[in-house]
Symmetry: C2
Subunit: 605 residues, 2 copies
């Protein structure tokens, strides 16, 4: 008997209705078409069709990753606490980590990722630069106790991940491995027919220095990225503002103080300015003309000068029409964290006059000998503030602001920082034009870990000079089950799934219609001929099911080609061959139909 | 470049010494040869070589199991409590089950097996006899919190299992699926070159009715089985004693009472009998001539007549030279359990005279009208006691025994039971001759579950007559990672592993020796020629490693063929080709060597 998947015996039950709790198309269709069943929130059971597609995706990934010389290993999902304690991830991962105890009350976890275990494995086996470079990977099930699993496979509590780790004796080696892995990722996503965009990313909670995320652009994505006209993209956290062009201030009048009573907020300030000091050119004062100075506390960790963690107040000057993005700002002070200044802290600095804080009492200009400020605070300006720009801003006296205070002429900053939330139309970091903001799903990440894990877990080798050095690491992940969902999410229509040929659960879906036994014999013959040509076949051999239901099921399941053996075959000897995507439908003579179908399918690969 | 696994870059470090905590050869060798690393007790990391062999074993299993029409699915290792609660396994599994809570304090477990989930999946999808039969399986990692992990992969806390479940509308269907799966198991173990023996088994803690275990016979096995000369084998719990041949008692004198003071134990009784009543034929009295009557308590569950669990005393008569095997005996009273009788219970039956308990005050003979015993206890005899056999046994009076008390003439039993421990030389159940006891490792089990899970989880379908009936289930397991260990355990010598060709990590291990660059070029050419013939190659291309170390590594790794390119190749143009098992070694002309090796390898498959 042929190996075809027969609809009469396949473990499959298609659903006409969307499952009640499915919130995205891929989740609805993968359940309706019998690829998956939900066991518990975020926990899945793979049915035969789903497992077939998953295996094909894994095969593509293995081929490309083996192709760059990476070697496959496999770790348990269950791991002991100690290695994760050494890297502080046991605590830092928080509620997202499933923890449990064995019968001897030893602590274990279900690994959310395996950096620690890969590091320890290489430490266990290798000791010399001669052993390096080596890149190891696994395709394995990870567990994360998401608070709110959603979007089907896209954010579950278990998911299949390909995670690779490179080990090299130096930073250059790490960067080389990173570029190789990155190139393999591009080949993988291209072969899988999945649109992707590499997005420059900050290091995030994994530690390390350089990183890119691969996002599949789609409206249901949880991640926002900023896209430049050049095609380059950035995480919001990773965006840098190109240096603003210097403004010629040679004709800007000298700064002067002006009375601006009751102008503590930007809105009041704008109103007061427009009321009391109308501009000569008739233009209205806007929030963007005002320099807003925001006080923020930095929580520094202990350091050489401090035995304990310590707090520092700073002030950041930003355009009045923008808000501070604490996450972006914080990234520039890592590992320190940011906090709001307390009332006590504010009170201890009398130069911070509420609503009238200005740069003249801060930073470099407050550190001159003539200054009366004790211990002046550090002052930063946001990268959107050009040298030479003139501002309405606080004069450190209640009810008084400066007018025409010029950055670079009247005041300086200790440093320029990325402080404000980016927005549509901001200049892209590469200067190629205004940014737009898009949504996507993260399907992969490449990451220069540097020495974080090798230092924490003491992975060292002897280098070429006989010196013991920590090993440089990179890590590289693909969310395998998430990739499957993203392909489903971007390859479907209202009638069902429409898989790319390379990973479809079968090459062709043969449907026999009617009750004429001869039709079924002809269909059976076609199936055998297709299989002889190396095609994988789903064969709808059900006897008591209407053609309409069979067509609906075929469209729902989404195999690239559908071949119908039925009345036409009996009448005029033709078989109808359709593309699932609707691009083509033709009547093909029965004789030679298998070859036509094989040719069409192979052209799709 | 060729795809060969190059020793210069393979993630591998062979060990000359056995790991300290490895207790069996397979564990020692799999670690030493770089197939596995231990992460924590009973938790393993698969290295590239190990993963390759594992994948090949899985491929054989998939091929055979798909071949009988089973369909592959995949469940999560993490499962919610509720289904396991419904079958009572949440409690009954005890400390062997890893349990955990999610962030919402819901209970989860790491599944030790997936009966519940398969049952619920079929219930979720199917509702009619027309959907059946269906057999589903997965190859998946199971977790069991073993108290004392040992023997490497053979008893770990995680292990890879192929578990299949059949669903049929009736018992005949279940039996048919059982036989198909059983036959596939035989094909699998034969193809894997793993000696096995199907052993009749009791149902054990999984519930159900009929079952066989597949054991791989080996001295390190934890399981004992009884082997008949016919080649059939049984679990000790499953052994039945053939009906003992009736003894002609027509010339046996009538029973009489004899004084036997201070003969409470069997040993004393033998001494007393030999001292006081020497036999006429000069033979000594032995323990086997005495009928020992053992009082046992049965803990019955609640039933129609009892609202609460209740206890019953029974007495079992066994030959004096044998001990009661409580587990075997208990199996015949399941679901009741056995216990020792308490002093109070014994005291409440004055007919139970310590050391002189006899059948005449028990069972059928105590239920006659003339009896003075109130509520006589049930009396059972062990299956080794033939009808017509005459015994020295208690007469229910202190210091008095019966002589020539004949079973079937003077006393009867309520039933015959399997009560005593079986031993070497006991007759086999099929009557083919005396049993011998062997040790083995359980590598598979086939099991007729019956209705246990479908009733507990309410899996019903409409049958042919439109009636709702519970579904008959079978379950069928193979310990995949354990199979790998058993193959290693039975395919090695003191120098290392020696894999069967079908699952070896490569077909041939090519070694280039010396420092002559031309040797490495010739070896490289041979590797390419071997790969062109479809062979998988490990190539020892290391430049600064001695031939001795290379040979040792090759023997340790255990690929079926070793080809040495070295001085001989330069001198007389030959390549040495060795079988790993030592059965053959020959010098093959360089020209044509690849074909010779390919032919030799293919002949091994």
């Amino acid at each position: 008997m042929s190996k075809a998947l027969r609809m009469s015996s396949m473990f499959l039950r298609t659903l006409r209705e969307d499952p009640a709790d499915a919130d995205v198309d891929s989740d609805k269709l993968l359940q309706r078409a019998g690829y998956l069943r939900k066991t518990a929130p975020g926990i899945w059971t793979w049915l035969p069709l789903g497992l077939t597609v998953l295996n094909k995706i894994e095969a593509v990934i293995r081929e490309e990753i083996n192709g760059i010389g990476a070697q496959e290993v496999h770790f348990s999902g269950l791991q002991p606490r100690e290695p994760y304690e050494a890297t502080h991830r046991w605590e830092e991962y928080g509620e997202g980590m499933f923890k449990l105890k064995d019968r001897h009350q030893n602590d274990f976890l279900l690994a959310p990722t395996h950096e620690e275990m890969f590091t320890l494995l290489v430490k266990d086996m290798y000791s010399s630069y001669k052993d390096l470079p080596v890149t190891l990977y696994q395709i394995q099930t990870k567990y994360r106790d998401e608070a709110r699993p959603r979007a089907g496979l896209i954010r579950g509590r278990e998911f299949i991940m390909k995670d690779a780790y490179s080990f090299t004796v130096d930073e250059e080696g790490m960067k080389r491995c990173y570029m190789e892995e990155r190139a393999a990722y591009e080949r993988i996503f291209k072969r899988l027919n999945l649109d992707y965009i590499p997005v420059f990313a900050m290091s995030g909670p994994m530690g390390g220095s350089a990183s890119e995320e691969f996002l599949a652009p789609m409206a249901i994505g949880e991640d926002t990225f900023a896209l430049a006209p050049s095609g380059k993209a950035w995480n919001v956290e990773a965006l840098t503002t190109p240096k603003a062009e210097e403004i010629d201030c040679s004709t800007t009048p000298a700064a002067e103080k002006r009375e601006t009573p009751d102008a503590e907020s930007i809105a009041n300030m704008v109103e007061r300015a427009n009321g009391m000091y109308p501009r000569e050119d008739g233009r209205m004062w806007e929030a963007e003309d005002i320099l807003k100075n925001v006080v923020i506390a930095i929580k520094h960790p202990e350091d050489d000068d401090h035995d304990e963690p310590w707090r520092e107040l700073i002030v950041v000057g930003v355009p009045g029409d923008r808000e501070v993005d604490m996450k972006r700002l914080e990234a520039q002070f890592a590992p320190a964290e940011l906090d709001e200044a307390t009332e006590e802290e504010l009170a201890s600095h009398p130069e911070l006059v509420r609503g009238y804080i200005g740069p003249m009492a801060l930073g470099p200009q407050a550190r001159v000998e003539s200054s009366t400020i004790e211990e002046p605070l550090r002052y930063f300006v946001d990268a959107h503030i050009p040298v030479g720009s003139a501002w309405f801003t606080g004069a450190d006296e209640a009810g008084v602001d400066y007018y025409n205070l010029v950055y670079g002429r009247d005041f300086e900053a200790d440093a320029v920082v990325e402080a404000v939330a980016v927005r549509d139309g901001d200049m892209s970091p590469d200067g190629s034009g205004p940014l737009s903001f898009e949504r996507g799903v993260e399907i992969g990440q490449v990451f220069q870990l540097g020495l974080k894990y090798s230092k924490a877990l003491d992975l060292k080798v002897l280098n070429q000079n006989g010196k013991t050095v920590p090993v440089w690491m990179g890590c590289y992940g693909i969310g395998v089950s998430r990739v499957l969902a993203c392909i489903a999410e971007t390859h479907h229509d209202e009638r069902g799934l429409a898989w790319p040929a390379l990973i479809a659960p079968a090459s062709v879906h043969v449907i026999a219609t009617g009750k004429n036994e001869e039709v079924f014999e002809k269909a059976e013959k076609l199936v055998a001929e297709l299989e002889a040509r190396g095609l994988e076949v789903i064969y709808d051999d059900r006897k008591k099911v209407s053609p309409g239901v069979k067509f609906k099921d075929a469209e729902l399941i989404g195999v690239p080609l559908v071949a119908v053996v039925g009345r036409d075959t009996m009448n005029d000897g033709t078989i109808e061959v359709r593309d699932r995507d609707g691009s083509n439908s033709e009547a093909v003579p029965e004789e030679g139909a298998a070859q036509v179908i094989a040719d069409r399918f192979n052209a799709m690969l």
